[in-house]
Every structure is written in C-alpha cells, then in structure tokens.
Symmetry: D2
Subunit: 213 residues, 4 copies
C-alpha cells in the first residue's frame, strides 16, 4: 500500500491544489512474492464541510480498509464549495471532479473503466458524490452517499427566511448564494439530484449509477 500526498495544477480551478491518494500497490505480504497488479479500481472520496483533503486519512482508517479491498482512493479538497459550480463567480468544483478523474488516471495506474470507478462522500461530500455521480454517469458506475446533504436544492429557494450572517458562517444566505449561485429555479436545475436522476432515466440503459446510502 502507498499513501501519496499530491499537489497538482488544476486547469479548472486555475491553481495548484492538494489531494491524498491511496494506492494498493504492494500486496506482497511477508513471503516476499510480488503480485502482478492490474490497474486499480478507484474511489473518489469527498469530505464534508469545514474539512479538507486530510479528513479521511486523519479521521478514519480508510488506508487499512482500502488496502484490504485493493482499492485506490482519491481524496481532494472541497473548500466548503459542495463540489458544485457557480457561473456567477467563475468557479466550477463539479468540473474539477471530472478533471480529477482524468488527471489521476494520467498520474497513477488506475483502471479507465467506468465499472471500476466510484464516487462517494460524507455530508457535503455526499451531496458532491451524488450530484457528480449523476452528472458524469459515463465516469462513475457507483455512488456512495453517507449522511448526504440533500435538502439544499429544495430549500434554498426560500432562503429569504435565512439569516444573512448566522452564528455558523457557511450557512447564511451570503455564503450559500456564493456556492449555489442564483437560487431561483434551483429545484429544477441539475444541482438537484432528483432532477438529475429523472433525466438519466431517459438515457441509454445501464448508464444510471448504482446508489448506496
């Protein structure tokens, strides 16, 4: 098993950003026999609000778990941005997830096969996993949403009731508008996973990722 802390230049975010990668590459045990590796199955794993790329490594035993299952795991920073996009401020953390898949395939020996590529996350990361899993179904065959934040797309339209600057900063109107952009018609947009899933029903058979909560 190898643990890599990587910094690379993201074209989407137009700056150098860090992530952690787990690579299950040295499963030889103590007999000293090297095992022929095939390109790794890969999980893109998204942290929750207030955290960053270090969360999964320091807060869980993901390294051991991934090694046991022979799974590569890629853990980027979400910068409290919900892994979504906002045209008004030029940021696109959704496209960043797509870019991350291609870039990490360039770096590491990862499988390029959709059926070997998964996306998962916790809380804010659960929202990111579900919406990006449904946004890029040609990339991801499975989605794991843990305690996912799913109410925003349907509740933000009534955001006038929210305090401008609440006790807990990111949950006020100001910041949520920065993240999600204009909240009108948000419920009907591709930032609502229900809308996304309905659209995918009309897509060719088999392209809807499997969802595990």
């Amino acid at each position: 098993m190898a643990l890599a802390e990587v910094n690379f230049f993201s074209q989407t975010l137009m700056r150098t950003v860090p992530f952690y990668a787990i690579l299950p590459c040295d499963k030889t045990g103590f007999d000293g026999k090297r095992q022929e590796n095939t390109p790794f199955k890969t999980l893109y794993l998204l942290h929750g609000i207030f955290g960053n790329y270090t969360d999964w490594i320091t807060g869980t035993r993901i390294l051991r778990w991934a090694t046991d299952y022979g799974l590569a795991v890629i853990m980027p920073s979400g910068d409290n941005r919900f892994y979504t996009y906002n045209k008004a401020n030029g940021e696109d953390y959704a496209a960043f997830i797509e870019e991350l898949v291609y870039e990490t395939r360039d770096m590491f020996r990862l499988s390029h096969d959709r059926k070997d590529t998964f996306v998962g996350g916790l809380s804010m990361g659960g929202y990111g996993a579900i919406t990006n899993g449904l946004r890029y179904p040609h990339l991801f065959s499975r989605i794991i949403g843990l305690s996912s934040v799913l109410h925003f797309p349907t509740t933000l339209e009534t955001m006038e009731d929210m305090p401008e600057t609440p006790d807990c900063y990111p949950f006020g109107r100001t910041f949520l508008s920065t993240i999600f952009g204009d909240v009108k018609n948000l419920k009907e947009s591709d930032k609502n996973p229900v809308v996304q899933a309905k659209r995918l029903r009309a897509a060719p058979a088999g392209i809807l990722p499997q969802l595990r909560r």
Copy 2:
C-alpha cells in the same frame, strides 16, 4: 532547520487549510553544540496567482536562505484571492493573514514582537503583503513587495472594458468581482494601498511599516 507542512482549522475561512513553515531551530552545525534559541523572527510569505502554499518551497531555495538568516517563514495558500476580503461572499482572506499570525504564534516558538514580524510576497502575494502590512501595522514592522500587483484598485473601476470570460480565467470581470467585491469606489477603499498609507500617516509615529520593493 526544520520544514513543517501544517494543516490547521482556520476560524476565518471555516475550514482546514495547509501551509508550510520553516523553523530555523537547530543551528548547531557539526560541532554538536546546541545553541540557545530565542523566539524566532518571522516572515509571512505570500505566493502569486495560480500557485499555492508549496510554491516557495518548490520554486526557490527559501529553506536555505531562511536557515542562513535564522528566520522563520510561514507560507499559506492564497487560493487566487489576493489576500483580500469580499463581504458579498463572506470570504475574508485579509483577516486570515491576521489569524495566521496569532495561530502560528500559538503553534511555534515565534517572537510576538512587531519588530520581529514581517510580511512579503510576489505578484498577487506582493499585493497581499503590502495591503495587509498596511492593514495590520501593529503586527508587521516591514513589508517586502516583489513585482507586486498594484494596478487593480485603480483600474478595476473601468472593468466594463474587460472581457467577461477572457482567455486566462482569473482575469475576467466575473472573477475579479468575486475577489474584490463591488468595484465602485475601490480606489478610495482600504484595498488601495495608497489610501491605506495616507491614513497611516495620521497614526502615531513609528507605526508605518518599512516597505522594500
């Protein structure tokens, strides 16, 4: 000399963020004699656009230079935000620099003395160093601006002439408004170092930081 890659929770940014720290703490050389250390003089050193906290370590020989001069160096990420603030989106990278000073003094054995505390930077980081050095003159006694971006505060008011989405993403109207907020009266605001310096002239003697370009 010690090089530390640190992740800590920023109250200002409300998320875990990384920075690099150089600590000139083992200046013993090969005679094996330990030298009594006093709290370190400290330079807060800000990178330019498109980069992050790793820039100074990977792109220069700052580690050697800082060791030679017995200087601690703290290098945060600026996230293309010019180390300034924008009330409209709730982000305050200026206050983050202030927080960083207090937090790193809690972590490391740094001098708390204004005369031992400096801020410097390159390009976007030069703008950040000059404006925050003048914004927090009780913290910083010297400012180093290298190829500093200084035209924005006076040119952004005519931003209508700028393309919305230029070839090079961060320099369009959209992104610059996200960073600097409402650009009206920007020239008269504390985001313009000329305004800042004029105000400081009226302050008690000796509080204006020395500027080296």
Copy 3:
C-alpha cells in the same frame, strides 16, 4: 488542532528525518472565541516494527483523541531499530528520543515541565517507550506501554538457537545483533527495563516515571 509533518536535521542520527506532530492549538470551536493557550502537554508516541512516522496518523484516530484531551503528540520514525543504541555501528536511537524532546521544544510551544511530558508506544514502540522513559526519567513523568516487546533483553542471549535468516527478516540473529549489539550480558544492561527500574529505585524520590500498560 494542527497537524504538522516535519523534517529536521538530527544531530544524533546525522541526517534529516521526518516526524508528525499534533498541536492542540485552536480550541475555539464555533463561537469564534480564541482561548489563551498555555504551553502544551506532550506525548512522544512510538510506532511498532515495519512502520514509520505515519503509522499513528493513518492507523488510528489519534488526531481527534489528542485534540479532545488538549495534548501535543510527537511521532518519529523508529526505522526498525527499537529506539535503542548500538555502539558497534555508531547508531543511537535512544539519544535520538532525548534530542527529539529538546528539538521539538525549540520548534513548538511545548511545556518544558517533566510532569507534562510523556512517552508511549506500541509493540517495538512500547519497548522504546519503557526503556527510554526509564533512561531519561528527568524528561518523562509517565510511560505508556501497549503490547510492549519486553522479552528480547532476556532471550537474545540464547540467540544461537535462532535462525540466521528467518522467514521474516528483522527477527533473525543478524538483524537483532545489528540493533542490540553484543547480546552477551544484555540481560544485565540498561537495555533491560527491569535493570533500569531497579537502578531508579535508588534514585531521589519521585523520579521513577509512572507506568501504564
């Protein structure tokens, strides 16, 4: 809380070596109120055989635990050397632990008080914690030994019965001699914690560290 990955030049090992440090320095919670920090209580925490400085961070939730208890934690690499010394090959990983205490106090805002300074470890690290806790009782007031390797000092004298190169490399005669040096009279040496503890009984009252297994 801050997590720092540090590389520094060790005079004892005569090379740059990495360690992880946890610093419980930003216990402000979400009310935004900064808390006056006193210098941190500190635990030097030693990993087991086959591992390195990353073990505790990736294999446990030590970061959360240390934050909850307001404890700094310093985690060096042991290089399969049992945190002991061998004059025959010029290596002294015992003195390295002592050096690490002084060096980290130079770097970070750690308490210099013996009663705030602890050493602990798992398996090989448990042996290192117990023997160095008893070797440097003026530094450490408490010792934590988890599944500590304690049989070596009494069993290595009969090492002739051991295979030269066993299935599992570090446990053959060759390597153990490299670590522990001449194994004759090892049982009577300060590499045997029973001998160390007996000697300390004759020392001034209160200098024997408390041991928790």
Copy 4:
C-alpha cells in the same frame, strides 16, 4: 506537473519509507487543451550524505526543470547508507533501488523501457547512482554522477588509519564498516564501480549504461 510525497512499505527494507515523486502529467498550459500523455521517462535521483528524500525538492528547482523536460523524478531516502548493501547487518539499500523501480512502475504511469529509465545522484548519491546503474544495467540506460564519492572502495581497505570516532560521525571506521561491511577485498568487489564496469564489458553489446558526470 504533480508533486507527490509518498509513503510505501518496502519489502527490502521491511518498513514503510517516504519518497518524493515528480510527475509531468498536466502539460496543458493556459489554452486548456489536454495533451495525450505517454508513460513518463523516469529519473531515479539520489541525495547526498546527511540529507533525505526532501533534499532535491527543497534545495534545487528540480520541479521546474523536470516539468520543462517532461521527466518523472523519483527521490528516495538513503539514510546515510550509500545505496549499497551489507550482508552482515541484513540491510540492502542496493536492492531497495531495484525494488523502487518496480514499485513506482506499479504506482505511476511510468515507461517500463530501459531506454527511458535513468539513475542519478549527488556525492553519496553519485556513488549510489553509478554503482546501482552498473549493478542493474537491464533497468537503467543512463547514469548521472554529480561530484560522486568514488574513493571509498579503494581507500577503505586501509581504514585502520582512520579514527574510530572522528569529529564528523559518519566518516569513522565504525560507521563505514556498518555501511560497506567487511572492507577486505572491497576493491575487488561489486561495490567498486571500476570492477563493475569491467565485468559489463563482457556482457552483450549495448547493455553498458551511458555515464555523464
């Protein structure tokens, strides 16, 4: 370009060890156009005495240079061991270099072609590059030796004249014996690059790596 700090379990050293990797994987520039990457040409780059895997990153601008030339660079720690082996203490830092080639090919998208694989180093690392380049000529097509330490194999036989414990620790008899093992006949062994090169002359044409000093 990506910079990765990696920790992996080395079968040869029987412990987790760190290295830095540069991957020239995102050569897209500012036009946003992704470039099809072929597996990377790779340089294994070895640091000098007293240093570790961080030396090349912090002390040079190798990151920029490697990016400009489209070269992957792998930088391990040498632990003052001269990248050689010593049967007497069970350590084999020569085999570690071989293992590192195979392991990094499992992790990253590196060319497996001998003609795309190089080894280089400075001082102690120059000795390591030359001797391992000649030891594993099926792996490396080119060797770069910078200020290489080449006198040891021919001078250590008269080591009796050396001080046991000199001012500068690693250069006494004790430590050098630990590294190089029994120094008798060292001049005639495969730890002497002259002997290695002579042997390779008898090997099939084209297998002798090119050497650049």
